[in-house]
Amino acid sequence: MKIFQVAILLGVVALLWGLNFFFEENINPYILRVIINCGIGMILAMSLNLVNGCAGQFSLGHAGFMGVGAYMSATITTVLNLSPFFQTDLGVGCAIVTGGIAAAIAGYLVGLPSLRLKGDYLAIVTLGFGEIIRICFLNIESVGGARGLSGIPPKSNFFWVYLWVVITFVALLRLLRSSYGRAILSVRENEIAAESMGIDISRYKIVAFVVSSFFAGIAGGLFAHLQSFIDPNSFVFNKSIEAVIMVVIGGMGSLSGAIFGGIIVSLLPELLRVFEQYRMVIFPLILIILMLVRPMGLLGHKEIWEIFRKKASS
């Protein structure tokens, strides 16, 4: 079994590596860029899905954690000038992981006080923290302040982004199928019932929040090393909303749904380029209509394979 898993892992890495070369040779850079953006969208959506969809805690500050990851990793590779190692692929990878860890710590610090609150209050407090994080970056001159940070090595290519997509997917799937995952789901279903079954609900909320922040930080780091330029405006409230829309479209609590949502929300601006001006009007309209017509999102709580399995058996 173990060998089997390692083989799959190596196969996936090889496949991504091959695809990377194939895409860079044969696809026009614009489309490749869109594909990479979709990958970052997927990571963001899957990570937020853990908090919003699985744990049922509505967070509106996801862009803030993404910002922490982006700034932390960019600081290591660009500002600090530690060693030439951090200009290489592997070094950037390390920096991105560090960014993710920083985001997880930020998530812990934010989550500890705010997860005592519920529903609307939690939404507004996470929003507040997200904005505070952004205002902090705005006021730290060593990372560029309002001017932003430029000259970040553009190392995020198809391979690295999709490797992280796979890692995020596998990690979250494993987490959700473990006892931790079951506990997190039970918090969503009914806090009081979960608590009376002996589940430490605040602990599991924090776990979900920290893991989610970690992957948001990773998405931020990849984003920074894709754009090679970040400024505090890259992580405004609208970015958090975009992440929420991804989760809601896909179906709250569905990992494959989140991937789906991530793709749709990242692709839609490109498809609607003709209606550039109306893009941000169409987005919220979709959200409202979806809530009215199909409040559970496209997939609901289910995963895409569960739906097909049901169809096959019936």
Binding site: G56, F58, P113, S114, R116, L117, G119, D120, Y121, A123, I124, V125, L127, G128, F129, E131, I132, I135, N139, I192, S196, F237, I241, V244, V248, M252, Q277, Y278, M280, V281, F283, P284, L285, L287, I288, M291, L292, P295
Partner: protein, 301 residues
């Protein structure tokens, strides 16, 4: 020193009464339906633009400034009520029995929709709100400024708040409203037409936002489609500060927030102006989540 202190109190009161009026809209809807009407801040923004166009259209015809001001305020209130009720009918009513998260997401969707529609219709550039009344200095001491606009803002808000208090405390509708906010299902069983009461709540909330928008336009004559976002957040903080669902609390919360902001700008730095609201919010939610005047109900099985 004393003059600066008094000046900050004047500025804070004028700003705070606008927050208070907007906060009342949040708190009333929350009291009845238990959700944050995110679109409220954008109704405020639309009210400001309604007043902007109405003033442009009316000012050549009407010469009396008081009459002009009153008609612009009333027009903006009417427009806001129309928008508020449309939003309630289309977006919120079909979700009355849906989970609260869905209503919250819908409210955010409506808010974004109005903001972005505003950017297309009105353009993203700020517009200058016409000065309906010539600014006159009433008390021009050294370092102390009090003009008629500030007095008008405070007086109009006070009148509206007293009126609201009277409606909620002493009319049949107000009693029904309080009953609905206490327990919507039991109120319904007692024969209170809950939908009508909810419509009535949205009417009052939106009209207060309309009035607040004009008062804001008078004192800060620069309006833009994203104007509502910050005001809305701060008004929400004010509502939470006073205890959400509590009308008195929202009024007090708005004033306190306005004062806190004025003092922060003067004594610390103007870059912390927006951070202080969130700071207060986090502080309040951590130490007294029910707010200053709120009562905390523990959830039971």
């Amino acid at each position: 020193m004393l003059q600066a202190f008094l000046q900050n109190i004047i500025n804070g009161l004028a700003q705070g009464s606008v927050y208070a009026l907007v906060a009342l809209g949040y708190t009333m809807v929350y009291g009845v339906l238990q959700f944050i009407n995110f679109a409220h801040s954008d109704i405020f923004m639309l009210g400001a633009f309604a007043g902007f166009y109405l003033a442009k259209w009316l000012s050549p015809a009407v010469s009396n400034p008081i009459f002009l001001l009153v008609s612009v305020i009333l027009g903006s209130m009417a427009f806001c009520v129309a928008v508020g009720l449309t939003v309630e009918r289309i977006a919120y009513r079909p979700l009355r029995s849906a989970p609260r998260l869905n209503v919250l997401i819908t409210a955010i969707g409506v808010s974004l929709f109005l903001e972005n529609l505003g950017q297309i219709v009105f353009g993203a550039d700020p517009q200058v709100f016409p000065s309906l009344i010539a600014t006159q200095s009433l008390l021009g001491g050294e370092g102390l400024v009090l003009n008629n606009i500030q007095v008008i803002v405070v007086i109009v808000s006070l009148v509206l708040m007293v009126l609201l208090h009277w409606i909620v405390r002493h009319t049949k509708l107000g009693i029904a409203m309080r009953a609905v906010s206490f327990d919507i299902e039991v109120a319904n069983l007692m024969g209170i037409p809950t939908d009508t009461i909810i419509i009535f709540t949205f009417t009052i909330g939106s009209s207060l936002a309309g009035a607040a928008a004009i008062l804001y336009g008078l004192s800060y004559p620069k309006i833009e489609p994203l104007l509502g976002v910050m005001i809305g957040l701060k008004a929400f903080v004010a509502a939470v500060f006073g205890g959400i669902g509590n009308i008195m609390g929202a009024a007090v919360g708005g004033i306190v927030l306005g004062l806190a902001e004025a003092f922060t700008v003067y004594y610390i730095s103007s870059t912390f102006r927006d951070a202080i609201a969130f700071g207060i919010l986090i502080f309040i939610l951590l130490f007294r989540p029910a707010g200053l005047f709120g009562t905390f109900r523990r959830e039971k099985v």
